[in-house]
Amino acid sequence: MDSIERHIISVTVENKSGVLARISGLFSARGYNIDSLAVAETEDPTVSRMSIVVKGNEKILEQIYKQLNKLIDVIKVQDLTTEAHIERELVLLKVNTAGSSARNEIVQLVNIFRAKIVDVSRKSLTIELVGSKAKVDAMIDLMKGFGIKEMTRTGRIAICRDTSKEK
């Protein structure tokens, strides 16, 4: 009951200035932890979707859900963790290749992971990988051995599956 878990919450909001500040302000004011937050316009240009990964027990999650709903600009809040959904994250990894014979090994790993090399220089390779958090974490872990020069992750985004509803 009281276990602290990661949840991915999908929040559709009015696509207006200041909305992101309202959401992030709510989380900081009430002391909720955000792991990641990704936001962009949806198929309806007046609506944005935020995918927020939060940590908390059931009680905190319930409060997050209610407090988000209290905001006037919030249209819908969905905890996707509780239903069938697909989640993805994108990472860009700049890996050090200077003075080593690692290049081949890295390329092999990139193929195994179905990642892409999107930039090449004499001293580095930049890899793009899309996948679940576990996959991204595993890739990062492997690349640490070669030396990660720089990295950027989008945070997770998610969408619920339709299949379960179409029966």
Binding site: V13, E14, S17, G18, A21, R22, G25, L26, A29, K59, E62, Q63, K66, Q67, N69, K70, I72, D73, V74, I75
Partner: protein, 556 residues
């Protein structure tokens, strides 16, 4: 039509009769449009006073209070007042001027990010960047402020938008897809609640400020009387149930009655209506109402289950839901329970030792007697507030006006001004302390200029009394920064200097005569300084963080 004229028309459409405010550079166009608009403008002497006055107006009338200030310091001065209204869910629309749109973000003269600053203390806010939006934004703002769980809404309007021209268009109806308050309680939940009450032996109703803002006092009373269930109140709920009613348990919590707190601790079913289980109400949360199954009725889903575990949540309008309770309430057998409570009432009444000196509790009791419980009482924050809550015998809702959530010193006097504007025929009394009255004492000028006959009773104990009390009890009597002996102004002379009337009472015998004289003074504000015993404490008391069982102090 100019933006500012449109704003005036919007205010008229919302039937705004009075605005409390303070002019300034970037609200000049709006002030100019208001000048001969027919809407009364009350110039306060500080923007904080304007916000509290609008708040007091809203609390007493049930209408949306409106305040106005300029950009920068004007809007930051409103902040405390807006936060006060936010914490107590008071419907308010605050209008602020903003620097011209092309200057926003440039650190222009008197520019602050008003919507940024007020985001966490408003129900919603707007930066109105386009003259075409004025109608919709005002319609939405008033709608949001007064519906659902009410609250303050701020509209920040750049000066060029006030000057720009367009046609006036006020939407008749508003539809906000992301905002749909729930008013009807779920019928199944209501049914469950009623069957829980039916099997209870020791039920209690706990009524909060939500009962007052939903105008549900009649329903509350009918329910209590029909089902014979005693009623405890939070401080914000005072007035929703008459103090002298047999089923009245008084205020509960930190300075609640011992019998009220006892009853909470023994109850088997707690019907909480329009309250949010603030820490001052519950004491140690894990030990609050240990035997009670809680039915929680609130318009705000986020209040439910936030602090205490709830057996039956019912989201909706308290008035509506209580009415359904009244209609379908089962027979209860509470005679034994009521008997037990009346024994507590006899054994542990609210009490104090009435010595030769002037006791603050005696001052409140005398005011209560002289006004027959018919006055509107506003308070500052601290001991004055608690004594007013404990010893005034309230009869009607919307007659106890006090900053509950934020606990704002300096609230009571400007709020009294707003209350008097809303209710010109009522007696309005601010119960103040010598500390808090000085936080907005400049509003004396407002009251004199507008001939607002509020009575300010200053319980002068030469200390910041509540903090002093805590220092006495919990900080080994180290009175850090709380003693004002020899450091105070002459309150009577201050009143006179402003052109008001001032009285001073120092003895028990003269109190009634002086208060009567003050109450009969109808042409302008009166200060009555009551020089009370400096070391009197508010009892009984639950120390912060302790359980409601652990009350200290009080006689008997």
């Amino acid at each position: 039509m100019t933006g500012s004229k449109i704003i005036v028309e919007c205010l008229k459409k919302e039937k705004v009769e009075v605005i409390f405010g303070y002019p300034g550079g970037v609200v000049l166009p709006l002030c100019d449009a208001l000048y001969d608009s027919g809407i009364k403008f009350i110039l306060t002497r500080h923007e904080q006073g304007a916000a509290h006055a609008a708040d007091g107006y809203a609390r007493t009338s049930g209408k949306v209070g409106v305040c106005l200030a300029t950009s920068g310091p004007g809007s930051t001065n409103l902040v405390t007042g807006i936060a006060t209204a936010y914490m107590d869910s008071i419907p308010m629309v605050a209008i602020t001027g903003q620097v011209a749109t092309h200057l926003i973000g440039n650190d222009a003269f008197q520019e602050v990010d008003t919507t940024g600053i007020t985001r966490p203390i408003t129900k919603h806010n707007y930066l109105l960047k386009n003259v075409e939006q004025i109608g919709t934004v005002f319609k939405e703002a008033f709608y949001i402020a007064k519906t659902g769980k009410p609250g303050p809404v701020l509209i920040d309007i750049p000066v060029d938008v006030q000057r720009a021209e367009t046609d006036f268009n006020y939407p008749e109806k508003i539809e906000i897809r992301s905002y749909k308050p729930v008013y009807n309680g779920h019928p199944l939940q209501i049914e469950r609640a009623l069957s829980l009450i039916a099997c209870s032996k020791k039920p209690i109703i706990l009524a909060g400020g939500g009962v007052i803002s939903a105008n549900a006092s009649d329903e509350l009373r009918s329910l209590a009387e029909k089902a014979k269930i005693p009623v405890a109140l939070t401080m914000m709920g005072l007035g929703s149930f008459p103090t002298e009613h047999d089923l009245h348990l008084g205020m509960i919590g930190m300075h609640g009655t011992r019998y009220g707190n006892n009853a909470i601790m023994e109850a088997d079913v707690l019907i909480a209506a329009g309250c949010r289980f603030d820490d001052r109400v519950t004491g140690k949360i894990s030990e609050f109402a240990p035997h009670a199954k809680i039915i929680h009725i609130d318009i705000n889903p986020a209040s439910i289950g936030k602090n205490v575990a709830v057996e039956i949540p019912i989201v909706g309008d308290v008035k509506n839901i209580l009415a359904q309770f009244v209609k379908n309430i089962p027979k209860t057998s509470t005679a034994e329970w009521i008997e037990r409570i009346s024994e507590w009432k006899k054994k542990y009444p609210l009490n104090y030792k009435n010595t030769d000196g002037l006791k603050p509790q005696f001052v409140i009791e005398t005011i209560s007697e002289l006004t027959k419980g018919e006055a509107i009482i506003t308070t500052e924050v601290g001991q004055n507030q608690m004594w007013a809550a404990q010893y005034y015998k309230f009869k009607h809702p919307r007659t106890f006006i006090s900053s509950g959530g934020l606990g704002t010193m300096g609230f009571g006097f400007p709020a009294a001004i707003g209350a008097q504007v809303a209710c010109p025929d009522k007696t309005v009394i601010d119960i103040a302390g010598d500390g808090s009255i000085q936080m907005n004492i400049q509003e004396l000028s407002t009251a004199v200029a507008e001939k607002i006959p509020v009575k300010v009773i200053i319980l002068n104990n030469c200390h910041l009394g509540m903090v002093r009390q805590w220092q006495e009890l919990f900080y080994q009597k180290r009175y850090a920064f709380t003693c004002l002996k020899g450091k105070q102004p002459n309150f009577v002379k201050i009143a006179e200097a402003y052109g008001a009337t001032g009285y001073r009472a120092t003895k028990r015998e003269e109190l009634k005569k002086i208060l009567t004289r003050a109450l009969n003074h109808k042409t302008g504000p009166v200060f009555v300084e009551c020089v009370v015993e400096p070391e009197e404490n508010v009892f009984p008391m639950v120390p912060a963080g302790a359980s409601l069982k652990e009350m200290i102090g009080g006689l008997a």
